[in-house]
């Protein structure tokens, strides 16, 4: 492709500004999700072909500033500086113009070509805010495009503008701050004039006044004497303003943002309380809020499990015929049996993805798009905080009840590595739909439904304690919840479907390789006739310590593939599905407890491996195996007293 017909743009902006909606609209199905190198932060790229142009679109993480406090911020800053995209499209939430402009000012300081998109301009109007886009354009000296992403309105204007401006060199109009600050910026700029830096000099000067660690380090390597001057200037600023120079600069940006906002905004008629406000009042209330949350989440789980069990049964019947046809077609040899176990692994993935994960994602994204997930995060924050994580972890937790795989994947929304890791470990302890099959199919059915709920309670207690312990053990400060509270809005169908599709695709791609390989390996061990040896090798643990039949050793190995296989294989080996004939109530409870915790299933291990490296994944597996054995034995002995 002709270089001149290629344009690269990055989308930058704070969270909840409609950035993802715009990205999805522009790139549709032509997108590619990966991680930023060396991180677990999602990197979303896509391509758009428009009027003969090939437009590469990159969606930067949603961030509030261009400091380096979080990985997301550091990545975004580095990308804009080093990759020099043709345009930085700054998506702004028009209903929160002032707060969003603070970020815009930081982009302008970087002297990169910015196109400002005033998204949700309709919602601003509803709120009674009339923003003069032309005036804003004149003040900032950058293109300003009003848009309503949900309706697709204004979005092609962004690309039109990019094509129009491509190749022209804009004169950057960096924001001008107060005299006493400008004076010191120019003094520093003068001193660093002769150092070779990949950044704009004015920006470096500002960052030095802000005491930015990274920039300070770089400058100290090239011309250490400047730092003395900087320190002196910072002290002067601190004397004038009475607080730290980094705050003086941040404060100055706020003032400029506030001033611009006042200049371009006309307050029109506004309803005193909108319906969103009223809904917010009920759904975040100390009492009704929790009640509504329980109803909504309970309804969500019930719907998913009802739908899932129904569809799963349908698929079961469908695939049963496939197995018979396969053996008729391929013959009854070891090879065909191995091949079938590979096919079966894929079918099993489909059987989890379609009935459970698919509806879970759809409902989750509806709740998120509507604005409800932010309310759950708000309500759950204090509880989550006791486990060393914060309210946003409710998303991985909710997903984890359906399947641990998307649960662990969604840990990416947590800000720091530490939070991501703790959340993922806790998610692996959540009873997923497969574990629920065991709990209800064994304990719920034969011992009593209260015992089944007791096991859930046990899981929650263990998750809580593990969270407490791991937040103490893992070094690092807990990150505080900072989250914009979005207004409630009608969910956008296309966004939800696209998000669901990409998440499902990712689930299959990450889980499939390891699931297929381990499925074949375990079948090979089975065919080689080694299973009985393994069972007897494990019997000191399974029989003597846990008080279970020795076949349990084999079941637990199959269970690594998918936990519900523990029940399926038990029925297959014993030739009966009436488990009361084979196991005592005590054994059922012990087996369920061990099944719940003994290891994440192989698909979950794949995610842990990919996100945190094999060492941490292995450590989690070993710890959980040891823990489950210990816990199972204790439960078994305690139950001696009860039964």
């Amino acid at each position: 492709m002709n270089e001149e017909k290629k344009i690269s743009i990055v989308l930058a902006g704070q969270g909840n500004t409609g950035k993802s909606t715009i990205f999805n609209y522009l790139t549709g199905l032509h997108q590619h999700i990966a991680n930023w190198p060396g991180t677990t932060i999602e990197k979303r790229e896509g391509t758009l072909f428009y009027n003969g142009y090939m437009v590469d679109v990159l969606d930067l993480p949603g961030i509030y500033s261009l400091t380096t406090f979080s990985e997301e911020e550091a990545i975004s800053r580095e990308h804009i500086i080093n990759q020099r995209p043709d345009f930085v499209v700054n998506i702004v939430d028009s209903t929160n113009l002032e707060r969003n402009l603070i970020f815009t000012l930081q982009l302008l300081e970087l002297e990169c070509p910015v196109i400002l998109v005033l998204n949700m301009i309709d919602l601003a109007k509803k709120k009674g805010l009339i923003i003069d886009a032309q005036k804003l354009q004149n003040i900032l000296n950058i293109p300003v495009i009003p848009a309503i992403a949900l309706q697709g309105s204004g979005l092609t204007d962004i690309i039109d503008k990019a094509i129009e401006l491509k190749g022209t060199r804009p004169d950057y109009n960096t924001p001008i701050y107060g005299k006493e600050i400008e004076n010191r910026i120019s003094q520093i700029s003068e001193s660093i004039k002769d150092i070779d830096l990949p950044y704009p000099k004015r920006w470096v000067a500002i960052k030095l006044l802000e005491k930015d660690n990274e920039i300070t380090k770089i400058v100290s390597q090239k011309k250490p004497e400047v730092l003395e001057q900087v320190m002196q200037l910072c002290r002067e600023l601190e004397e004038i303003h009475g607080h730290d120079s980094s705050i003086v600069i941040a404060d100055e940006r706020c003032h400029v943002a506030a001033q611009i906002t006042r200049e371009v905004t006309k307050i029109g008629s506004r309803k005193q309380t909108t319906s969103s406000d009223r809904l917010d009042a009920v759904t975040t209330n100390k009492f009704t809020g929790y009640l509504i949350m329980i109803i909504i989440l309970g309804g969500m789980f019930l719907t998913v499990f009802k739908f899932g069990n129904w569809l799963s049964a349908q698929l079961d019947m469908l695939f049963k015929d496939w197995q018979t046809s396969w053996y008729e077609f391929a013959g009854d040899s070891s090879l065909s049996s191995l091949l079938w176990s590979a096919i079966e692994s894929i079918l099993a993935l489909v059987q989890i993805a379609l009935p459970y994960i698919f509806p879970f994602y759809i409902l989750l994204y509806i709740l998120e798009d509507w604005g409800y997930i932010a309310r759950i995060s708000f309500l759950m924050d204090s509880l989550m905080h006791k486990m060393g994580i914060h309210g946003k972890a409710c998303i991985p937790f909710i997903l984890g009840f359906g399947c641990n795989v998307p649960g662990c994947l969604s840990c990416r929304i947590m800000e720091s590595k530490r939070e991501r890791f703790i959340t993922a470990v806790l998610v692996t302890l959540i009873p997923c739909s497969a574990v629920s099959v065991i709990i209800f199919g064994l304990v719920g059915k034969y011992v009593g439904i209260l015992w089944a709920f007791g096991l859930y309670l046990l899981a929650l207690i263990i998750i809580f304690i593990t969270g407490k312990i791991s937040s103490k053990l893992l070094i690092g400060e807990p990150v505080e919840l900072i989250m914009p509270m979005p207004d409630y809005k009608t969910p956008h169908f296309k966004t939800i479907i696209l998000q669901t599709w990409f998440s499902l695709k990712e689930f299959i791609f990450i889980a499939a390789p390891l699931v297929i390989i381990s499925g074949v390996v375990i079948q090979a061990i089975n065919l080689a006739g080694w299973m009985p040896y393994i069972a007897s090798f494990l019997s000191p643990i399974t029989v003597q310590w846990l008080g279970l039949p020795s076949i349990t050793g084999i079941l637990l190995i199959f269970g690594v593939l998918r936990k519900e296989l523990i029940l399926v294989m038990l029925a297959a080996f014993m030739g009966t599905a009436n488990f009361a004939d084979i196991l005592s109530a005590q054994q059922m409870i012990t087996l369920s407890v061990v099944s719940m915790f003994y290891i994440p299933c192989v698909a979950t291990i794949s995610v842990l491996w990919k996100e945190f490296g094999w060492k941490k994944a292995l450590a989690i597996c070993i710890l959980e195996i040891l823990f489950a054995i210990l816990l199972g034995g204790i439960v078994n002995r305690l139950l001696d007293i009860v039964f």
Partner: protein, 83 residues
């Protein structure tokens, strides 16, 4: 005499739902202060507590025309002169 007009500053977490005030200072390290400032919450900004949760959790606030949720630790560092 209007002695009553002069009120003591208090922590954001100690304010009641619906109460508003002016940010007086940020009682925390540079990182926390900077983080809060990047959200537009600097001394002199008017801030309103919209809602709090049970068990003294996070605080939902309104400032500069936008709504934010702040974790308890961060919110408790914001000192406010109530109106």
């Amino acid at each position: 005499m209007n002695n009553n007009d002069k009120k003591e500053e208090m922590r954001l977490t100690d304010m009641k739902e619906g109460q508003s005030g002016i940010i007086f200072e940020i009682d925390g390290g540079r990182t926390a202060t900077k983080r809060v400032a990047d959200l537009g919450l600097t001394p002199g900004t008017e801030i309103k507590v919209v809602r709090k949760t049970l068990f003294s959790g996070p605080v939902q606030i309104e400032a500069n025309g936008s709504k934010l949720v702040l974790g308890k630790g961060l919110a408790s560092k914001i000192m406010v002169t109530p109106k």
